[in-house]
Assembly symmetry: D2
């Protein structure tokens, strides 16, 4: 592999996700393996502008593969959205002789990176890190598998109390505009109903379905609601509506919230992060730029960033059918 | 141990708690050990009124020691609050030749049981099962230790994302009018501030403390708020107030909710449940009635129920001092 | 979907794996959805021979999606290996009007099923359930993802004590002749060395590598050893050899053992089980027989069983390279 | 509180245990609270001899309350067992103006500390940190509650596979000469038999008990064996003996090993560590020396070290009776 890359910077930006630390470690170790210097950039693009850097050796990233969050921290940078901000960022890179950037984050991160690449022709490559799994160009984003397990574990717990009291629970899960977490964790947790933005069925159908479910002998039920779902104005209003229209239900609401973003990454996310980190560095070494690393059909591949962020990854209709059959 | 008890009924009532199944198992096995029949009563006092019973052998309670919730289910019974309801309950007991009852639940459960005992002189004994730990006569209620660990695990996860983004989190935890969960889990999770009803410090002091904490270099903070705490009208209004009065804080709120009630019980709760179940059955065999089993000073003891429910178990002031020192 | 299938039997056989219960549930619910009867067969082929059957309704499989093991139990049957045994099995199927079988298990299970199909032209379809992931025709077997996480969690714990004492640990993990668990969990746990049967490097190279690792400043190390690996005669002899040849190492051995087979399945395994169960039933309905369901390139597909069991699924050489880079 | 203590050193020694980091944090924060300097000493007594010290501020111990192991590391020091070694240690303390020591560890740690105190009249106080719970003067040592939960979780997993295959498992757990872990975790995991050194019942009685258990319909069984138990020469020989004498049992052995020492501490251990850390520092400030902090009858107290290490904490006979009843 011939290359002119001598120093690579790595940053995390946007919402944090389990596996980001594992990816930073993989970038640092791959650099060390190829005798490239590696620089960690704190607080995403804001730290890039401010020159908040630290050298990362192979040893300095030990004991972080199992940590949630990102030790490089993340932040939103208004300044990087301005031409002046990006100019400062470029100066910092030049001053520190950094030849290329690995950007770990979501679509906002990549949009910023692409713009920066356009303006300065600076080599960048993206690693998709977000629990929402809402990025094209990969079947799995970092943190998604961990979040699924966190959600399933929480719903398993709620199921204990729902069953003990014959209750109907509405559980809101994360995922922004995207129903991946709701659909997969709902299926995994054996939810009776799953409401996602990609397949809004309307209130009437929900009532009918709950009624039918009760008639077949289900005494307790779990309805998983994606945060982006619009069946009700909010999960609380949705629950109120059902309460008014389906008498004799003992209803509770739970919003799982930010605990979904943390925790030790699963094995899947750690392995994925390691593979993506290697691919990111070696792609830069091969002279590739403006790509995002992803896993498609069980292989680690790269996709032009512009394709990765243009569409929302869509929900598998086959999976929705499986959910329907499982709630028979 | 001489005794006239030939058949014991067991029920769970009020909010469910991890360890209830382990306690039912212990009651059933202790009965089997002493060649007493054991009857499970479904849905608490309501099932008692309706005669919703099932014989429990030593084998029928296998593989439940590790299950959250209660397989006998729990329910609130308006009917049992009436004289007529309790009369029906008594008839069911006579008809089924049940000689005594083990009641697993909280203060509402025990109040009902005590009334029933007064009216019919029917032998009862209580086992404290509630995550809130708000009962006198025991240092630990069933489910409390499990709930503490569930909360600490959730806050550990939130800490990951709080640290990554330098955020201030307000996290509401359960406990009804009682600050035990907030205080212990807050201490265990390394929370910077803990707000409990037993020691309301007021909004001004909270602001000062957060300000001071930021000045000493803490970039992210966790404030644990007991659900019964009245510092703000709600945790959301509390967060809003702080947001308005402490500029430049990135604030989030998380209400942990019903996941705190479920999950496999910890070893502590399983052992406690086993010991309490043995003590409950053997106390009835010794002719004791109207007592609650508890653990005080590392020993399993019984206390008159009237003493167990009269006061709220108070929060350890020594522990509050430890919290203050830890958030130095 | 036109079909003559009116009743389907389902059994689990061979080593149990997390996700088997979720697969049984999926088979039962898919049958209910298509108004096909479903019969659970206890203790694998032995229960088939003995007619140890139970009707499975959609409701009878509730609350099992999150349970490890298999409630239908598993057993090895010598009798089914004989012509007479299989004849009895066939009689039971005819007597009970069962039209097709779903076999959940590993290659031994499928070999038996294929033989039975040959002899009686009886419709069968396989679902791969084994933690070892050693079956062709699928990228993931049921239970594999759960086992990986169990192993990673155990190694994370061992890492705590290894780091505290600057120790070198040899950790044996399951996987029979196959290195999948060792390779993926080793990578996920950040192991310094991974020994698998597919890539035996020899004792000398291990010593060199450990020596080099110590020289670069690693004070503690984890060596993950697949149970099928032949670098040493056993993991204990391997550790002894290293102890004799690398002075001043404080060495410990841990054999993780059967805890790797149990536990609540991960979300991945639950979703996979649900999808495979649907596919299995619907493939039988379409008249397919002698196939195994699998997931290849992110899609649920079927493969002739003869192809699924002929080879061992091989280990990804790309992944081995990632491991090497990560232990830089 | 008047005191002449201006600087306190803290070290961890002997086997590591979850909660040690939380205790170090508590010591450092309590020092900061009282404006005392705090010094961390690496690698136990060996680091004390070598002067391997680091200042610990309130901030430097953040984010460690939830980490297993000990970041100060632990080591056995032959040198400290010599007069010369202890002289060097004393010189280091004088040179660094350290006025007192907090020693976190087990009986070996305390024996060394007591000797040092005798020779140099140097103020020391102990915090009991060991998973074995084998120290007098406290009902609970740090790490014990965490280890119990790790063991129970592992046995829950093994139970899944034991039940699926109707197997008999022998599971060896830690605890050195002491049966606390075996007894409590065995009870918590619902083990059919528990073998501990404090109550050796002999092989014949074990066989009888297993036979009886099988006759009452138990198809699978778990026997928990304390590592110090001498019923068999080893758990493997014990299993072989049973296999030879009880035909038709499908027997497996699992040695849980070092994973029992690691993992995030439970809430109980974190709270205990925090309270003990405060008590240790404040006791030194009050001029106390040669004591160990402990929790007895729900209160944090101090006991002369000489009493804490003289006897082994004995196993509760009431608890053994509960175990017997539960395996009815």
């Amino acid at each position: 592999m011939s290359t002119n890359i001598k120093k690579i910077g790595v940053l995390t930006s946007g919402g944090d996700a389990p596996g980001m630390n594992a990816a930073i470690r993989a970038v640092a170790r791959t650099c060390a393996y190829h005798q490239i210097e590696c620089v960690g950039i704190y607080r995403g693009y804001q730290g890039l502008i401010e020159g908040d850097f630290e050298d990362l050796s192979a040893r300095s990233v030990r004991n972080i593969i199992n940590r949630g969050g990102t030790f490089l921290k993340s932040a939103r940078s208004q300044e990087f959205k301005t031409k002046e901000g990006r100019a400062k960022a470029h100066e910092q890179l030049i001053k520190n002789q950094i030849d290329a950037l690995v950007l770990i984050g979501g679509d906002g991160t990549f949009t910023g990176g692409m713009l920066f690449n356009e303006e300065y022709n600076f080599p960048i490559i993206g690693i998709p890190g977000t629990i929402d799994n809402d990025i094209d160009g990969t079947m799995y984003t970092l943190g998604y598998d961990t979040a699924l397990n966190t959600v399933v574990d929480a719903i398993d717990r709620i199921r204990d109390t729902a069953s003990s009291h014959d209750r109907l629970f509405f559980i809101e899960v994360m995922g922004r505009d995207c129903g991946h977490i709701a659909l997969n964790a709902g299926l995994g947790a054996g939810a009776e109903e799953i409401l996602i933005p990609e397949a809004n069925r309307g209130l009437e159908q929900l009532l009918e379905s709950l009624e039918r479910s009760r008639n077949t002998g289900k005494s307790s039920s779990i309805v998983v609601v994606a945060e982006g779902d619009k069946t009700g104005k909010s999960v609380f209003q949705l629950a109120e509506y059902v309460e008014e229209n389906l008498p004799n239900y003992d209803i509770r609401v739970s919003v799982l919230g930010h605990m979904q973003r943390g925790g030790a990454p699963t094995c899947f996310d750690r392995v994925l992060a390691s593979r993506m980190g290697v691919k990111a560095v070696e792609s830069l070494m091969e002279g590739k730029s403006n790509y995002m690393v992803g896993m498609i059909k069980d292989e680690i591949v790269i996709t032009p960033i512009v394709d990765a962020i243009k569409g929302k990854s869509s929900v598998d209709s086959d999976l929705m059918r499986v959910c329907e059959i499982m709630s028979t």
